[in-house]
Symmetry: C2
Subunit: 325 residues, 2 copies
């Protein structure tokens, strides 16, 4: 089911034609969209829509607004984070320049609204509700990115603050993806809100799994060397918890690696990973990922929908828990 | 009439509350919006709405989407142009930094859609048409900015290309401002399109007048020293025409000033202005401004609306022709 949706989405992305000239503006959009990615957001939207209605083809174009918006945030975040690579390829600001990445990203955000405007068959109030939720979520994602940047210059970040940051930066859009599926299927606000909550939980589990994979991922499967977050001293859940728990030798060693000016990269990744492991941070993070997904599964089973309708979505969710990529 | 609208708009802008946290994201929005400006776009929207309906208060919030969008473009353009000042004050990226100006601008673009979503009392298709026109125009404004940046690195730009650039960068949004007024007043597409055409003509005249004021404006009234465009070698209509027409001594002199590494600023402005004047570029630009506004007035008189209804808009248009600020 998800595979069928993915094929339809890729076909639609391939046809995406937002404009031609000036080429500097539109080429980066096509470039970034064609780098792939899991298309989790539109797939979740279509899977949720399919809980209620069969004609999922109708939801394809509106669901792409989520993917385009997500890629817009990547284009702009990569400028702010001075990231050289995205999905193993040059980032837009590296391949072109900062100005092009700013402006091309702006057009992409507008494109997201163009796809959202392909919604048909809703009432005005249903459509305006979809737009309101999209707007609110879009602003929240920016808030999450600003929080993330603010954390960089702070010496201490609490677990609570970190969870709130990833909720805004990542989870609310995954929540919206499922909510939009329900709105497109003309479900009552109460139902679409339940799906938003489930998506938010999935989003939290998804991001924490990302933090884990960046340290413990299998480079063969993950497609990149683990340790990027460690090398960047990124305040992930793992580092925040390690800083809270480390004592004695571990504490001294961790501080040393965090403050070292030009560390040997492999040695730093290996040493910090060993500290995480010895402190039990790996198991703790895995348990937290499981907790969020478990709660999402519980809320799924509480949904008043026939079980056979839920199979596709549940299977996709399980894939996210177990993913190694 | 325009004064009454302006007061109502300023009151609404003063109440604008898009969010609070993180403060880095929302303070720049409030800062830029409070720097003033003529609010030409929402005023034109309200004046156009008033051609057809009396309850202009209903159009206040949607009309602000135009002003917020315009200010969003200023925030991002100022990063790209490395501009230190906007309306005599520090630009956002100067007062804060580039990353904040990128992200705060992104939220502002979302805010524009939030205000557009305050439209009430339209049918779904009327609302989606408004959104479609907004999206198209927003993308075109970005295209205009990209063209403008591309012109910087080119040795030659034709008048035709320049007019197309300012049409996209400036005029289409002024066109949309009037079109949106007509859409909000539930006029047929044919009528709203006529208003768009008029706004586009006004926008072209408005930008060329800007080019003129930047060279020939009275510093006392204009609020800044003229000559900014000349010092930046900006390819305005005046420079493009001067490059086309200059011969002999004028041509040598103009090339000299354009290629000089560290010119005396006052001397450069004075000399290039003298070349413009001797070539008749001032009168030619004034004539072109007049031509666009005259055409806008002709199209206004062709509108099938009682003359007394047109008074406010016509008066405002005359103010734009004669403006010294």
């Amino acid at each position: 089911m998800a595979k069928e949706f993915l094929n339809a989405l890729e076909a639609e992305i391939g046809q995406q034609d937002m404009g031609k000239n000036p080429i500097e503006l539109y080429e980066p959009i096509q470039y970034l969209m064609s780098l792939g990615g899991k298309r989790i957001r539109p797939v979740l939207c279509l899977l949720t829509y399919s809980l209620f209605k069969d004609q999922w083809q109708k939801a394809i174009s509106p669901s792409l607004s989520l993917e385009i918006f997500h890629n817009f945030t990547l284009m702009h975040d990569d400028i702010m984070d001075k990231a050289p690579l995205r999905r193993g390829k040059q980032t837009v600001h590296e391949k072109w320049n900062d100005n092009i990445a700013i402006l091309s990203g702006d057009v992409m955000l507008v494109n997201a609204y163009q796809y959202l405007n392909k919604i048909k068959d809703l009432s005005l109030s249903e459509f305006q509700f979809a737009l309101e939720r999209f707007n609110k979520t879009a602003a929240e994602v920016c808030e999450g990115q600003q929080m993330d940047m603010n954390f960089e210059s702070r010496s201490q970040v609490s677990v609570e603050e970190y969870i709130e940051m990833i909720r805004l930066k990542t989870s609310v859009l995954i929540g919206l993806s499922m909510e939009l599926g329900a709105i497109l299927a003309q479900q009552a606000n109460q139902v679409s809100d339940q799906l938003y909550q489930i998506g938010e939980l999935i989003g939290l589990g998804f991001q924490l799994k990302d933090d884990l994979l960046d340290v413990y991922g299998d480079p063969e499967k993950f497609g990149k060397q683990p340790g990027g977050d460690i090398l960047a001293n990124k305040k992930t859940y793992l580092l925040i918890r390690a800083l809270e728990m480390a004592e004695g030798e571990n504490k001294i060693e961790l501080s040393k690696w965090l403050s070292m000016a030009n560390p040997n990269p492999e040695l730093k990744v290996k040493s910090v990973t060993a500290i995480y492991t010895s402190l039990g941070v790996k198991e703790e993070t895995e348990a937290l990922v499981k907790k969020y997904f478990d709660e999402a599964f519980v809320q799924m089973s509480a949904l008043n929908i026939m079980d056979e309708k839920k199979v596709g979505l549940l299977k996709f969710m399980s894939g996210l828990v177990d993913r190694e990529v």
